[in-house]
Symmetry: C2
Subunit: 325 residues, 2 copies
Amino acid sequence: MTAPSDVFLPPVAPSDVQRITCVGAGVIGGGWVAHFLARGYDVTAWDPGADAARRLRQIVDAAWPALTNLGLAPGASRDRLHIVDDLADALADAQFVQESAPEDLDVKIDLLARIDALTPQGVVISSSTSGYSMSEMQVSAANPGRLVVGHPFNPPYLIPLVEVVGGTRTHSGAVAWASEFFTLVGKSVITMEREVPGFIANRLQEALWREALHMVAEGEATVEQIDTAITDGPGLRWPFHGPCMTFHLAGGEGGMAHMLDHFGPSLKAPWTRLEAPELTPELRDAMVAGCETEADGRTNVELIAERDAKMIAIMQAMQDVSRRE
Amino acid sequence: MTAPSDVFLPPVAPSDVQRITCVGAGVIGGGWVAHFLARGYDVTAWDPGADAARRLRQIVDAAWPALTNLGLAPGASRDRLHIVDDLADALADAQFVQESAPEDLDVKIDLLARIDALTPQGVVISSSTSGYSMSEMQVSAANPGRLVVGHPFNPPYLIPLVEVVGGTRTHSGAVAWASEFFTLVGKSVITMEREVPGFIANRLQEALWREALHMVAEGEATVEQIDTAITDGPGLRWPFHGPCMTFHLAGGEGGMAHMLDHFGPSLKAPWTRLEAPELTPELRDAMVAGCETEADGRTNVELIAERDAKMIAIMQAMQDVSRRE
C-alpha cells in the first residue's frame, strides 16, 4: 500500500453516496444491483451480454419479495435502476463502482483499467472477484490507488459478508472508505490487512470441501452423508457461532484455553487430511484472547443458553418454511 | 464384521424399547439422558463421579425448557429418571445402553467389557466416543458383536446427528438395530459402512478448524474475522444445504456437473493448505449423482427459492432471539 503521507481524497464521503454503478450484471452483479436498490440508492448498470437487461430485471424481480420481507430503505424502488448501453455513460456520474465481470484475469485487468479511465477522480472502484488478488488485477490501471476487492457471497442481497482488501498499489484510504461504505449499506465487513489467496471465508469453506471430495473419492462417505453430517450436525451452530466460538463453548468453563490445553493432542490425530500447525504458546494465546473478546463478558452458562435458544429458533424457522411449501 | 449367516438376535425390537441405561452422565451422557426422557423413555443412569446425581439433574433441568418447547413425547417426564449407584443394577433390565465415559481408550475398553458382562444377552450397547474406533475399544468384551459407536453432537438433546458404525467384530445386525433405534428416537442417523478416524462430521469440521488455526498462526486472519467469515457468510446456508448442495446451486442450471467441469481447476489453487484429490471421472460422477439424488427433482429455481426463504427465516429467527435477551 502507498505511504500514509500520500493522501487519498475521495470526492464524496461514504454516507453521502447516492449513485452507484454496477459493471457486470450476472448472478453476482445482479445481486449487488438488487441489494443497492433495496438500500435506497440510484443504481446504474452496464453489462455487454446479450439480453443482459432482461436477465438483470429478472434477478431484481426475483429478489424483491425477499428484500421487501427483510425491510426496504425509505425511497427504495426498482424504478431507480438505470440500465445503459455505454460504459462511459454508466460511469460518468458514479460515486461508487462495483465490478462483477466473469472470473478471467485478462478480462478483469482490462476492464478495471477502462473503468478507472472513465470514472470521476477519487471514486472508489471495488471488484467482486473471488479468485484474484487486486495486486494482480490493478496492473494496467492509471490510478490503482482507488481499486479494492469487495468480495461478496452469493446471493449478495442476502448474505451479509463482504471481504475488503487492497492490492500492493491500493491506497489504505480507499480500503478504509470501502469498508465504511459497505458497513453503511448493511454489510458485515471484514477488512483484511493483507492479500491471502481465497480470502478468509472461501479458504475455510474450501478446506471443508476438499476433505469432502477426498472422502467421496475414497468411499468413506457419500455426498448425501456429507451434507447430512453438516446440516444436521455442526452446521446448525454456524449461523451464530463460528468455529472458534464453537470450540470455546466445547471447552466448558475453561473455554478455549481448556480446549487447547487438554485437546491439543487431537490436532495430531488423522481426523482430516489437513496437517495442523504447531500449537505454539503464541497461537494458543491468540486463540484464547480472540474468544474472550468475542464472548464479551458473557459466561459459559449464558453462551450455552444463547446457543440453545438460537439453535431451536433455527430448527423451528426451517420447519415453518418447509410447512409453507 | 461377522458373516451374515451368524444371526444377530436382539431380545427386543427397536420400536419396543421402553428402558434405556446411560452409563456416564457428564455433559454428553447427561444430554443423552435428557433426550431419552423427553422422548418418553424410562432412563436409568450410572456415573461414578462425585456429586454426579446432582449434576445430572442440573443438566436435565437446564435442558427441559428447550425440550418442552420442541415438544415432549406422550408420557415424557423427568420423574422417569432413575439414578443408581451400582453398575450391575443399572444394566440388569436394560433394553439399550448408551456409554458416555471420558475419552480414554483404556477406560473405554475396560468399561465396555464390564457393561457387556452385566447387560442382558443381545441388547445393543452404543458408545458416544468421538475419538476411538469400536475395533480398538471392543477388544476385551466377551460379546463384541453387539457393540457399536453411536456418536452424537453436543448437545445431544438438540443436535439431531448421530453417526453409527461398528468395529471389525461388530455384527452388522447390531449396527442396523442401532440405526433403526436412533431414527425412532428422533435422530438424524448416518450409518457408516466402515470406520474412518474422526467419523464424518468431525473430519469436515476439523479441516475447517485446522485451516483457521493456520490462518491465525500466520497472521492472515484474527479469531474474530474467522468467526465472522463463517457466521455472516457460508455458515448461514449450512443448516439446510451442506457443502455439496451449496456448490450444486453455485453451478447454476448446470448444477454440480457444471461446477466441477468449469471450476475444477480452482482445486489446484492455493485456497487452503489442504491438497485436493484428483478430480477423476468417477469422483465427478459420484458428486453429480449424489447432488441429483438430494435435489430429488427440484429445479434450480425451486432450490434457490427454498434457500432464500430458509436463510431469511434463520436471520429473522436469530434477530428475534437477540431481541428477547
